[in-house]
Symmetry: C2
Subunit: 248 residues, 2 copies
C-alpha cells in the first residue's frame, strides 16, 4: 500500500528530518537534564521545559497534559513509552513514592499493572527500534498504529495487533476465530491501513525477570483481504494443476 | 438507526408481503412434496422444483447452486438453516448415507461438525422466530447479519455476534478485549449497522441432548460507539450528580 503523505512536499520534509535524529536529540536532552518520571497508575508522568516538550511532541512520546502550571509542561506516557525511554534509551529515571526504580523493579511493577505488558512492550520496542512512530491503536480496534514519520505528515500505515501463539487464548485473545480476522482486515481496508500481526514468542522463557526479554523474538505478518475482482482486472495469470497457464 | 430501504416504495412492498407469510408458504410447499435434504460436510443439500426454488430465494434459505441439471435446482443450506427447516418448521427430512436422521441424531451430528452449533443455532432460531432474515455475517466480521426483509429490498440492520458468558473464552472467543469491541463497533458504524450481541445462556444445562435447547435463553444487547461530537451538537441535556441539568 505504501505511505499516504498528508500534503505535497511532506515526504521530502520527513526525509530531511529523520525520526531517528529527533529521538537522539530527545535522548540527549532528557539525559542532560536528569529527567525523572513518576509512575502513576498505568501512566508515567513527567514535567519538562519548552525545548523537551517540543522534542517529545516531534518524536511522538506521550501526550501533553493541560495544567495550570505556566513554566512547566506535563506529559503523560504509556507504560510502554515510559519503559522504552527508561530501559532502552536510558534517558528517563522513573520514580514511585519518591523511590527510584531499578530496571528490574520497574519491569516487575509494570507487569503487575498490565499482564500483557511483556508482549506489548516487546512489540512497541521492536517497531520503535526500526524508527516507526508507534501510538495507541484503540480507535482502529488494534493495539497500536505505526506511522512512517510524524502523524502531522503522514497517515498511519499499519494497525498492529500483538499476538502470541504460546499463550492460552493468545497474548490478547484476538484473531482466534475467522470472524475476528475478517473484522480486523475489513476495518483496516476501510481506513487504508494494513493489518500487522506481531507474534511474540517467548522461546520457552518466562516473563519473571527482565533478562528474559532479550530472548523473546518477534515474527511479523501482514494480513490483507483478497479481492477477487481486483485480481480479475489485473488479468493475473495462474498456473493450473496440469501446468497450463490460465487467466482467472 | 432504523431500516435503510434500497429504493422508493420498497417499505410498502415489504409490508404487503410479510416474511412470515413467505416462510409459511415455503413450509407448506416443502411439506407437500415430502422434501429431503442431504447432510454433506457442513452443509445440507436439497434439490427442488421451480416453485420451491422461488420460495427458498424469497425467504432467504440457502444458496442456489450452479449444476448441469435442467429440471431441478439444487440449494446449499448451512447447518443452522437445515436444522431450522427440519426441527423448528418440520418441513424438511434430513438424510445421511441414505439413512433418515431423527431430530436427536441430527442434533448430535451437527454438534460434532461444529462445536459452536448449539449456540449458533439458538441465535439463528431466536432471530428467525421473530421474522428476521438471517444470513452469514462473515463479510462484516460477524457471525450473522439480520435483515428486516429480503436483502433485495433493504440493507441489513444488525451485525450479530454470538456470545456466551458461561463458556471459557466465550462461545466464539469474540469481544473479550476492548480492541475487539472497538474493532467490531467501528466496522459496524462504517457500514451503517448496529452490533447486536446475542448472549446465549445454557442455564446450567449441557448441550448433550436436544431437549436442553429449550432451556437455553438469549439476552440481546446492542453496542454502539459513543460519539462525543454528535452529543455536543445535539445539545443533549444530562443530569449532573447534584440533580441540576447541564449541557455537555
Amino acid at each position: 500500500m505504501g505511505p499516504r503523505w498528508k500534503g505535497k512536499g511532506f515526504k521530502a520534509k520527513a526525509l530531511a528530518d529523520p525520526m531517528s535524529k529527533v529521538v537522539l536529540q530527545l535522548q540527549s536532552s532528557l539525559n542532560q537534564s536528569n529527567c525523572e518520571g513518576f509512575l502513576c497508575g498505568c501512566s508515567v508522568l513527567l514535567s519538562v521545559q519548552a525545548e523537551q516538550a517540543d522534542l517529545l511532541n516531534r518524536s511522538c512520546f506521550g501526550e501533553a497534559m493541560v495544567t495550570a502550571e505556566k513554566d512547566k509542561q506535563w506529559f503523560q506516557l504509556s507504560l510502554e513509552e515510559g519503559f522504552y525511554l527508561s530501559y532502552a534509551l536510558k534517558c528517563l529515571r522513573i520514580v514511585e513514592d519518591k523511590c527510584l526504580k531499578s530496571d528490574e523493579q520497574l519491569w516487575q511493577c509494570m507487569k503487575s499493572r498490565s499482564t500483557l505488558f511483556p508482549y506489548f512492550y516487546k512489540a512497541y520496542c521492536h517497531l520503535r527500534m526500526k524508527n516507526w512512530v508507534v501510538m495507541s491503536g484503540i480507535t482502529y480496534g488494534a493495539d497500536f498504529v505505526a506511522y512512517r514519520h510524524h502523524p502531522e505528515l503522514v497517515h498511519s500505515e499499519y494497525a498492529v495487533i500483538v499476538s502470541s501463539e504460546e499463550e492460552e487464548g493468545g497474548a490478547n485473545n484476538r484473531l482466534r476465530v475467522w470472524s475476528d480476522v475478517h473484522c480486523a482486515t475489513r476495518l483496516c481496508g476501510g481506513v487504508a491501513k494494513a493489518l500487522l500481526v506481531l507474534d511474540i514468542s517467548r522461546n520457552g522463557h518466562s516473563a519473571d525477570s527482565l533478562s528474559c526479554l532479550e530472548s523473546y523474538t518477534v515474527k511479523e505478518r501482514t494480513i490483507t483481504r483478497w479481492n477477487p475482482e481486483q485480481c480479475r482486472e489485473d488479468h493475473t495469470m495462474v498456473e493450473s494443476e496440469n501446468g497450463a497457464k490460465e487467466e482467472i
